[in-house]
């Protein structure tokens, strides 16, 4: 019963939601809209679960002073401070002068932007050490990458002799080989998603129920 009931439920809901695309009756639509709202509520509830999970995993490690407990305590303090500032601020929390807004503007924004900006340095290092023309495929990739990089910035467009041709060639790379490859990937991924969806609905794939 413990495994059969979720399988039957998955099958019924899955088939019902697929039916929406084939049965354009408003009564049918009312039920699918209701199910969709349940899904949204579950997605919001996942935040609460995430919060509980974070505390459950990290708090014992801070109490026991295990490896990296200092970082975990910073994380927990930040978590509760942000939560308190958010609830304390109410609907005005995003207005200037509120603690939540201050935490966001002066802690989160610089930290998030800094982490992302570091990518520029790692890309530079990777470009130097790893981007090698080892074979024909890598050489083609390298050539295309250099052309696109030059053509994407104004300096490339203003190069003498090549300036007009570069953006045209970049657009050809983007519009022809890029689209061909992307469409192949999209179609392959979509077929894979259909197959996985059917496996879940038909109960062949059971990993979401905790089975192997």
């Amino acid at each position: 019963m413990r495994s059969t009931f979720p399988l039957v439920l998955t099958f019924l809901v899955g088939m019902f939601m697929i039916g929406e695309f084939f049965i354009p009756h408003w009564r049918y639509h009312v039920v699918t809209a209701e199910l969709l709202e349940w899904g949204l509520i579950l997605a919001a509830a996942a935040f609460v679960l995430g919060l509980i999970n974070l505390v459950q995993v990290n708090l014992p490690k801070v109490i026991e002073r295990s490896t990296d407990w200092q970082y975990k305590s910073v994380m927990l303090i930040a978590l509760f401070c942000t939560l308190a500032a958010g609830f304390g601020g109410g609907i005005e929390r995003q207005s200037a002068g509120q603690a939540y807004k201050w935490l966001f503007d002066f802690l989160f924004v610089p930290l998030n932007a800094t982490m992302f900006a570091l990518l520029a340095f790692y890309i530079a290092s990777a470009a130097f050490r790893a981007f090698r023309a080892r074979n024909l495929e890598a050489t083609l990739l390298l050539g295309a990458a250099i052309l696109v990089m030059v053509a994407r910035v104004p300096m490339g467009e203003n190069l003498p002799l090549l300036g007009d041709k570069l953006p045209q060639f970049m657009n050809w790379i983007m519009d022809v080989p890029n689209i061909a490859a992307r469409r192949a990937i999209f179609i392959g991924a979509a077929l894979g998603a259909v197959a996985t969806g059917l496996r879940v609905i038909l109960g062949i794939e059971r990993s979401h129920l905790g089975a192997d």
């Binding site: 709202e37 919001a44 924004v109 998030n112 023309a133 990089m149 994407r152």
Partner: protein, 289 residues
């Protein structure tokens, strides 16, 4: 020559980092500006906004975070100026949890510049978790998905929302997208089903992913990364910005010049070094490569 490249091949990577920092800092301190052309996809985006009848309402999904802000905020700002200047009303929401404190102050600032009133000319419905599910719900029923706006006013009480229930009721959907959930999910979940007009501004890295949607007519226009934002700014403000408005992407794109050049230089140096050292090492390597 061999020794030079051999030393370069094994140099401390902090020198590479320093070079990158200089490649970004120098053009910031001493700007060098180049003229740039407008891409066909950005022009199409601009034209599709121009085609919206004054008094119409569009749905704006602003889905970005501080990390993608330099690429997307300039577009977001220019797009709001463009829409409000053309008397188009804007209903905005977000599916990204880090977006609200970024997008709302900018919306309030630009609405005030154009003398637009909350509730009648623009509205902000807030953040909705659920990712793709939320997009599907926006396609089905907006007041049910967002029962209240960010000021706790029931969505159905907002004058701007009268007669607007589903995504297809809007003249257009503009998605400022930094990734998932974003443009791809809007196209997959609701654009095709409801035959919506969707325009997208995305990060440079997502641009190649969305070009097939543009070519298939599923996107009416596409602006990718900082170059796309700069081109859109150029179209919205052809005579330069009015007083008090800064064209952030137009300033930023010229900083990219040296950065791109530096990466290309590193690729070339790395490859020259690789081939020189490989050619020299191969005979004495014993294994013949």
């Amino acid at each position: 020559m061999y020794r030079f490249f051999d030393r370069i091949q094994h140099m401390d990577r902090r020198w590479i980092f320093l070079g990158m920092a200089l490649a970004i800092l120098i053009p910031m301190l001493f700007p060098i500006t180049f003229e740039f052309k407008v891409d066909e996809r950005v022009q199409a985006l601009y034209d599709s906004v121009e085609e919206i009848e004054p008094g119409s309402t569009i749905f704006l999904s602003a889905d970005f975070d501080p990390a993608s802000r330099p690429e997307l905020e300039p577009f977001y700002r220019a797009n709001l100026h463009h829409l409000f200047r053309n008397d188009v009303k804007v209903v905005m929401a977000t599916l990204w949890e880090f977006a609200p404190p970024l997008i709302l102050p900018i919306m309030e600032e630009i609405a005030a510049v154009h003398g637009k009133e909350y509730g009648t000319d623009w509205a902000y419905l807030g953040y909705k978790p659920g990712k793709e599910l939320a997009i599907k719900a926006i396609g089905e029923n907006i007041p049910k998905t967002f029962p209240k706006d960010y000021r706790e006013t029931p969505t159905t009480d907002l004058p701007i929302m009268r007669g607007f229930k589903q995504a297809k009721d809007f003249a257009m959907i503009v998605n400022v997208s930094a990734g998932f959930p974003g443009t791809r999910e809007y196209v997959l979940q609701i654009q095709g089903q409801y035959d919506l007009k969707v325009a997208s501004a995305c990060t440079a890295v997502s641009g190649p992913d969305y070009i097939p949607f543009y070519k298939a007519g599923q996107l009416t226009g596409l602006s990718a990364g900082m170059p796309g934002s700069a081109q859109y700014e150029k179209l919205v403000f052809p005579d330069g910005p009015p007083e008090g408005i800064r064209l952030l992407a137009t300033q930023g794109i010229n900083v990219l010049n040296l950065g791109h050049l530096y990466v290309i230089l590193l690729i070339l140096l790395g490859n020259i070094g690789y081939f020189l050292t490989r050619a020299t090492d191969a005979p004495s390597g014993g294994k013949g490569g």
